[in-house]
């Protein structure tokens, strides 16, 4: 695995500070905002390429009969016709995909209006899709990613991030 320690020429890695800046703990807007139950945010990790991640978001939406509308890296999710209860209220639900590494993304799901139940259902649906091992044979990743995958499976117990955290993780 020593070969993997050389800096990849691929620019598909986010830089550390961009990643750190995504931390909600650094956001001081909390000082000014009232606790607003309308606003909910979740971040999910996705061990997939950016395009596979989008596919999974679409699949998660389809599973719940929600319609989607893609705008660059953001997908807007609308209640479909079968969610008759929601159609009268304004709903603002979106999923944004941020590429962290060639086969790693973060999906930020944000709800600023609309039914909490739709939001929660969607998070659950997407979360389970993201933790599934991809059955779609992705476009052949380069050797680095492949060995990275097997390395992760073998050493998942040794993963540095949060292995000491008692909460544990459900996302891949």
């Amino acid at each position: 695995m020593d070969a993997e320690r050389t800096v990849p020429t691929s620019s598909n890695f986010i830089n550390a500070f961009q990643l750190i800046a995504m931390n909600n703990d650094l956001d001081l807007s909390g000082l000014f905002e009232e606790e607003d139950d309308n606003i909910q945010k979740t971040k999910l990790g996705s061990k997939n390429t950016i395009s596979d991640t989008f596919k999974k978001i679409e699949a998660a939406a389809n599973d719940l009969s929600l319609s989607i509308q893609r705008q660059n890296n953001k997908i807007k999710i609308h209640p479909g016709r079968s969610f008759a209860r929601c159609s009268r209220s304004h709903s603002n639900l979106s999923a944004e995909v941020i590429e962290v590494a060639p086969a790693h993304c973060v999906v930020e799901i944000c709800k600023s209006a609309g039914e909490l139940s739709v939001y929660k259902e969607f998070c659950k649906s997407l979360s389970s899709l993201l933790t599934e091992k991809s059955s779609i044979a992705s476009v052949a990743p380069d050797a680095a990613d492949l060995s990275d995958e097997s390395q992760e499976t073998a050493s998942s117990e040794e993963e540095v991030n949060g292995s000491k955290d008692p909460r544990g993780y459900s996302s891949s």
Binding site: R5, V7, N15, A16, F17, N23, G30, L31, G45, S171
Partner: protein
């Protein structure tokens, strides 16, 4: 007018005259007064002593999800300018000033450098960046293999650490941030522009006429 301001002084150690604070910052006098409304509610939330301690600060930031974490601690330490373990009103206004949309870029670059220099050595070291990355991963419940974290760190330091001495100094940080201006987005709070609309109750307490005497 005089009576009101001395009442404030008794209740709030560290209270400073809004006119003085306004002259030192990007805030207008009414904005400073609006900030005082905010300050009062935060500083009284746990102990009603007119000062913001760490617990009150975290409560204000995270509402009911009171939690101890790296970044909240770091920001508290930066706000606590005099290193007394609490934030007084002057500290509060001067620190928030850096986050004002109109604050000079130089100040934002300085502040962010201090923010990331966790142990205050004057350099942002690799182990500090790693620590912050791990804290982020915990917060967002995202898993990244240690390999991937190392690669991200490698790439970052290749770019940011111009003299390759393993740490980022102030001028390297300046150059890096000019290349990636979005890194400073955390240093601006658009809310601060509309503070007088967010906290309109100040209107009834205004002790200062708009025309300065």
């Amino acid at each position: 007018m005089g009576c009101f301001s001395s009442t404030q002084r008794i209740q709030f150690p560290g209270y400073e005259n809004p006119v003085a604070l306004a002259s030192e910052t990007a805030f207008s006098v009414s904005e400073v007064e609006a900030l005082f409304e905010l300050y009062k509610s935060i500083s009284g939330s746990v102990i009603d002593d007119g000062l913001i301690n760490k617990e009150e600060f975290q409560l204000a930031l995270f509402k009911n999800q009171k939690k101890e974490n790296l970044f909240a601690n770091r920001i508290f330490d930066l706000f606590d300018v005099k290193k007394k373990g609490f934030i007084d009103f002057g500290d509060f206004v001067r620190s928030l000033n850096v986050f004002h949309p109109n604050a000079p870029l130089e100040e934002k670059i300085d502040y962010s450098f201090k923010l990331y220099d966790l142990d205050g050595t004057g350099f942002i070291e690799r182990h500090e960046v790693k620590q912050m990355l791990i804290a982020l991963l915990c917060e967002s419940q995202m898993k990244l293999a240690d390999e991937t974290v190392e690669i991200i760190l490698d790439k970052t330091f290749m770019e940011a650490d111009a003299d390759q001495d393993g740490k980022i100094d102030r001028s390297e940080w300046q150059n890096f941030v000019s290349k990636y201006p979005s890194l400073l987005k955390i240093m601006t709070l658009p809310y601060l522009r509309d503070i007088t609309t967010t906290f309109p109750s100040f209107v009834f307490n205004s002790e200062v006429d708009e025309i300065a005497t």
